[in-house]
């Protein structure tokens, strides 16, 4: 059956049916990992988020709608914060009447790309950067300001990126690769890791100074010992030292400091 929607890959806008489900799909994206499993990974969550976006297709082509709904819940995995790009792009491709094979290949390619980009941007970038910045603010100004800055700053970025991703995916469809390449993502990716290293590097000695409450001889020795231990652990486990584990190590050190040391 011929399709009447035009092709997103040739630059045509997507039909109005897609636009009507954006809000619901955006909200559902925050539950994209809720039904995570090894068989489909994010697949069920993606299918759930795609359902309101695909509703407009049902009225014009119910057969295509049924196929698209099934495809949307197939195996898929990527960084959850960037899942909106894949969701939007694959839904736009469905409306554009792209072939089943091209849509599957698009999702496979996005699987890896969005996974790697997300790991760089968030786990190895924004998360440690915000932790470092929050620690600096907590030590220099107020602990509550530090906690507040982290919660608002990190989650604000996460929400904004999810919305940008969904919108960009829907607007570009099969051209989502070009859209990502010409967006803020490559630029931010280049400096966010450096920023994280710098901020954590500044935060650690400041936090040490704060915890020591002064710099007596024994405290300097203890501080140097902890720093050497931290460096040794970071080097030994460099393959797995993501932002979360780095943060947990810092928390463990603080607890050890107050719980064990006099």
């Amino acid at each position: 059956m011929p399709l009447a929607y035009g092709r997103a890959s040739h630059g045509k806008p997507i039909g109005g049916g897609v636009v009507s489900g954006r809000g619901k799909a955006f909200a559902r994206l925050f539950a994209v990992q809720a039904a995570w499993n090894y068989e489909r990974m994010l697949g069920i969550g993606m299918g759930y988020a795609a359902e309101p976006l695909l509703a407009g297709l049902e009225a014009t082509d119910s057969e295509r709608h049924a196929e698209a709904a099934g495809r949307s819940a197939e195996f898929f995995n990527c960084h959850p914060y960037l899942a909106g790009l894949a969701l939007g792009a694959s839904v736009a491709a469905e409306y554009a009447g792209e072939s089943e094979d091209r849509i599957r290949r698009l999702k496979t390619a996005l699987c890896g790309t969005l996974g790697a980009l997300g790991d760089h941007l968030f786990w190895a970038g924004l998360l440690p950067a915000m932790m470092g910045l929050a620690l600096i603010v907590a030590v220099v100004w107020s602990p509550w300001w530090g906690v507040g800055l982290f919660l608002v700053g990190y989650n604000g970025c996460r929400v904004a990126v999810a919305w940008w991703g969904l919108r960009t995916g829907l607007d570009t469809g099969m051209r989502v690769g070009q859209a990502i390449a010409s967006s803020w993502v490559p630029r931010v990716r280049r400096w966010v890791g450096l920023a994280a290293g710098f901020l954590v590097g500044v935060a650690i000695p400041l936090a040490g100074r704060f915890l020591l409450g002064g710099l007596g001889r024994s405290q300097i020795l203890i501080g140097v010992g902890v720093a050497v231990l931290g460096l040794a652990l970071a080097y030994r486990f460099r393959a797995t030292f993501g932002g979360v584990r780095y943060g947990l190590l810092a928390v463990a050190l603080v607890l050890l400091w107050f719980g064990v040391l006099p």
Partner: protein, 158 residues
């Protein structure tokens, strides 16, 4: 420096590959063997985006991989070779093809006909038999998604 990792992963280039293995091994180039990707510019563009600028990505089909593998193995840089399927890796080795010392099963996910062997490895009986044949050919085969997990021997996937 030889190719340090020969990996079968149906997601091809992704976070486990770039950060999980790429960083600790100091990978400087990745050979992605997939006939359809090697003929598709938009897919290549997407996969290149997943990799830091300093890492080169070479796209090849199985035939190109068979003829060029010894050159890649002689490259002074640290490399990784990726295929999306067991069949592609087996075809690179083929009869009398280039030597592959070790294969890493990194992610072969659910499809109709495949049975779960590990949470991240699903294989049909034919795929399992193809891996056994590669093992009998002298190739060490283990399943390991990231460097920090245990390498699982092929015999445990029966």
């Amino acid at each position: 420096m030889p190719i340090l990792l020969y990996r079968i992963d149906d997601r091809l280039i992704h976070g486990q590959v770039v950060i999980g293995w790429g960083r600790p091994l100091g990978i400087e180039f990745i050979v992605l063997v997939d006939s359809e990707v090697s003929a598709s510019e938009w897919e290549q563009e997407l996969y290149r985006m997943a990799v830091p600028q300093a890492v080169e990505v070479v796209f090849a089909d199985v035939e190109q991989a068979r003829t060029s593998l010894t050159d890649w193995q002689a490259d002074p840089r640290r490399g990784m070779l990726l295929t999306g399927t067991v069949d592609s890796m087996a075809a690179i080795r083929g009869n009398g093809g280039p030597t592959i010392p070790k294969i890493n099963l990194g992610g072969v996910h659910h499809r109709p006909g495949r049975r779960q062997r590990l949470p991240y490895v699903y294989l049909t009986d034919e795929e399992y038999r193809a891996l056994i044949a590669l093992k009998e050919d002298g190739i060490e085969i283990t399943a390991q998604d990231v460097p920090t997990t245990r390498a699982v021997a092929l015999s445990e996937l029966a």
